[in-house]
């Protein structure tokens, strides 16, 4: 297989990655136990050590991915071979603003119009609002006037949204999948350069057993402080982490649901998702369908792969902590639902491991909360040291100073969070890529700012995750709220209303720490401080970024042509009255007669 490691090398690398993470977890746990023994081992300290093993192993896994991905991949020349397979570009949409959405479709169509390939475009609408649906149909009529696309542009709306997004795509395959060899699945906020689309088709052509090829989308067009920090992380760190993941993937790579091309025959064969027995949140339709679809393709003997060199793939991201938390709540439910698939027959071991990690990523906040609780209870119930355990003793017995061990654990954990970022910075600075981030100084300042900002926001985000997990475990369904792509600023009152439980949890815990374990206050301040200040952080980070030099990304420096074209078209369509077909003509055209 081209590009993916195989055989003994793959086994060795996977063994190293998993072994290294577990070893660091054991080391942290062991050091903590030593510290506990020095001050008096209790049930609570032993429990803390066990929990610390899981939490540290999880953090270490992230660091391991970065280490494995640190060394650059060999440059692969993009193919110029003739494109053979016919492809349909799928835009699944649901209650989206039609102007930017259809502008995306239009610029992709224009960019691909003269491409030497058989490419069609299908807009698959799940929009429930009748007014929004009528607007979509009018914009579709407008698109039908585009030259050269009359027979290659399709629109279909479902009125019954069976299976949500996965069901929307499955419905397309049931009706029309056999008309094309491949389907390029995009999101409503995705864009892809035409060269990237063609290269992905060529790679599918070249490898008949490749069922799914995932690109690494770059986050673009962020405006708020939070959004731009995420955008910088995506551009600066993600390629390294994803390269690490790609080196470990074998033929069971990741699928992130969009900006990926699939082989239709393989998809139909393996990706018909069952409805899970029982009610939501654990039963019903599979929310995070992508992970399962990737695992099922691998189970069917196909290859699933992410190629990190596929530049020219773009997506947008939430602009505020609240929008991020809303999306994360859906992902949380979806990932926890995967517990039902973890033991499914026939899955490859690596697929199963990835599903487990996906579940654990949402359980990690619970482990940290449990760790802090155990430590707090342990310290609060700690007896003062006995200097003269024997009544006839002349010299006192001083407790062993375990400060060094405690500090080692703390520094190690912080290091696992920060060190990968610093390593990525160190390896980026000498190369040409650093220019895209505004040069070495700017990249350094951006990395440091990201470390500070992510440290401040981590407790707040984890608190939202904790709440999400609790809601799922108590049986509350998240539904499928539409993403807010407008990126509006969050007022302080709204930020407080959304984060009130976090503020009160931070305050109550702060008081308890102050009363019962004041000496732990300094350790818990980085957690409880941001929780108490959550509304301020949420509101502040949703504001437009005052400076664009900090968190600069290559796509901001040299704006890709496809983005420029989209922005110009969306501004044109949004800024003036575009001659749209009348509602009556849209309804009496072929669109009205589409089966729903």
């Amino acid at each position: 297989m081209r590009g993916a490691m195989e055989g003994p090398r793959l086994i060795a690398l996977r063994t190293f990655a998993v072994g290294f993470s577990l070893t660091l977890g054991v080391a942290a746990s062991f050091l903590y136990l030593q510290y506990s023994q020095a001050v008096g081992l209790t049930f609570w300290s032993a429990a803390s050590a066990v929990i610390l093993f899981f939490s540290t192993s999880w953090l270490a896994w992230g660091a391991t991915l970065a280490i494995v991905g640190l060394w650059p991949a060999k440059r692969r020349a993009w193919s110029t071979a003739p494109v053979r397979g016919s492809t349909v570009v799928l835009f699944p949409i649901c209650n989206e603003d039609p102007v930017p959405t259809f502008a995306r479709v239009a610029v992709m169509m224009r960019a691909l119009r003269d491409a030497p390939a058989d490419i069609s475009v299908a807009i698959l609408s799940d929009t429930r609002d009748p007014h929004g649906a009528r607007e979509e149909q009018r914009w579709f009529q407008r698109l039908l006037e585009e030259d050269g696309w009359q027979d290659r542009l399709f629109y279909r709306r479902r009125t019954v949204n069976e299976g949500r997004k996965a069901g929307n795509i499955a419905d397309f395959f049931r009706r029309s999948g056999a008309a094309f060899d491949y389907a390029l699945i995009l999101d409503a906020d995705s864009l892809m350069a035409p060269g990237t689309v063609l290269e992905m088709i060529r790679r599918m052509d070249a490898e008949p057993r490749l069922a799914l090829l995932q690109s690494l989308p770059s986050v673009v067009r962020a405006r708020s402080l939070f959004g731009r920090a995420m955008q910088f992380s995506s551009a600066f760190y993600s390629p390294t982490y994803t390269r690490g993941l790609a080196r470990l993937q074998g033929r069971s790579g990741p699928f992130w649901g969009h900006n990926a091309i699939v082989r239709n025959r393989a998809w139909a064969q393996c990706c018909g998702l069952p409805e899970l027995p029982g009610k939501a949140p654990f039963g019903g339709h599979i929310l995070s369908h992508d992970v399962i679809e990737g695992a099922l393709l691998a189970r069917g003997g196909w290859s699933v792969r992410v190629d990190t060199d596929l530049a020219g793939s773009y997506e947008e991201a939430p602009e505020s902590v609240l929008d991020h938390a809303k999306r994360d709540r859906r992902w949380c439910q979806g990932n926890l639902q995967h517990a039902r698939a973890l033991s499914a027959w026939g899955l490859l071991g690596w697929s199963r491991f990835m599903i487990f990690l996906g579940i654990f990523s949402y359980l990690a906040p619970l482990f940290w909360v449990a760790f802090m609780l155990c430590v707090g209870i342990d310290r609060a119930t700690d007896l003062p040291p006995v200097y003269f355990p024997d009544a006839h003793q002349i010299f006192p017995v001083f407790p062993i100073d375990a400060t060094t061990r405690t500090l080692s654990v703390a520094i190690g954990i912080i290091g696992l969070l920060i060190l990968p970022k610093l390593l990525i910075l160190a390896t980026t600075i000498p190369g040409r890529a650093v220019r895209g981030f505004g040069g070495a100084l700017n990249a350094t300042l951006s990395t440091l700012a990201d470390i500070v900002l992510s440290s401040l926001l981590a407790p707040v985000l984890m608190a939202f995750q904790f709440r999400g997990v609790m809601e799922v475990l108590s049986g509350r369904d998240s539904g499928w709220p539409a993403n807010n792509r407008a990126g509006t600023r969050v007022p302080l009152a709204e930020a407080y209303a959304a984060s009130r439980p976090i503020v009160w949890a931070g305050l109550v815990c702060g008081v308890l720490v102050w009363v019962f374990v004041p000496h732990l206050g300094i350790w818990l301040l980085p957690v409880l401080g941001p929780m108490t200040a959550a509304p301020l952080l949420v509101a502040w980070t949703s504001r437009s970024s005052a400076t664009t030099s900090l968190f600069r990304t290559p796509e901001e420096r040299d704006v890709p042509a496809i983005l420029t074209a989209h922005d110009a078209l969306a501004a044109d369509w949004g800024g003036r009255a575009v001659a749209l077909p009348s509602e009556a003509s849209a309804l009496t055209s072929g669109v009205r007669r589409l089966p729903v």
């Binding site: 299908a122 579709f140 039908l144 009359q150 542009l153 399709f154 629109y155 279909r156 499955a170 397309f172 395959f173 049931r174 009706r175 029309s176 999948g177 056999a178 008309a179 239709n264 025959r265 139909a268 064969q269 393996c270 990706c271 018909g272 998702l273 069952p274 899970l276 399962i292 099922l296 039902r340 698939a341 033991s343 499914a344 027959w345 026939g346 055209s589 072929g590 669109v591 007669r593 589409l594 089966p595």
Partner: protein, 64 residues
């Protein structure tokens, strides 16, 4: 009979009346090219399957 049919076809051709494919699909409608989405089973792995796999007998259940 064969000759008659050929003669008829020739005659239609001469009259430019060769039958065109019927276009019944409105513009923009998805092509009619169905695929069967095979619904997969996520049933848990069974001990029996594992044992059969160990002794070399295929234990994999077909998709439902």
């Amino acid at each position: 009979m064969g000759e008659t049919m050929t003669a008829m076809t020739m005659k239609l051709e001469d009259l430019h009346l060769r039958a065109e494919p019927v276009v019944s699909r409105p513009r923009g409608t998805l092509p009619d090219a169905p695929m069967t989405m095979q619904v997969q089973s996520l049933d848990p792995v069974r001990v029996g399957d594992v044992l059969r796999g160990l002794v070399g007998v295929s234990g994999r259940r077909a998709s439902s």
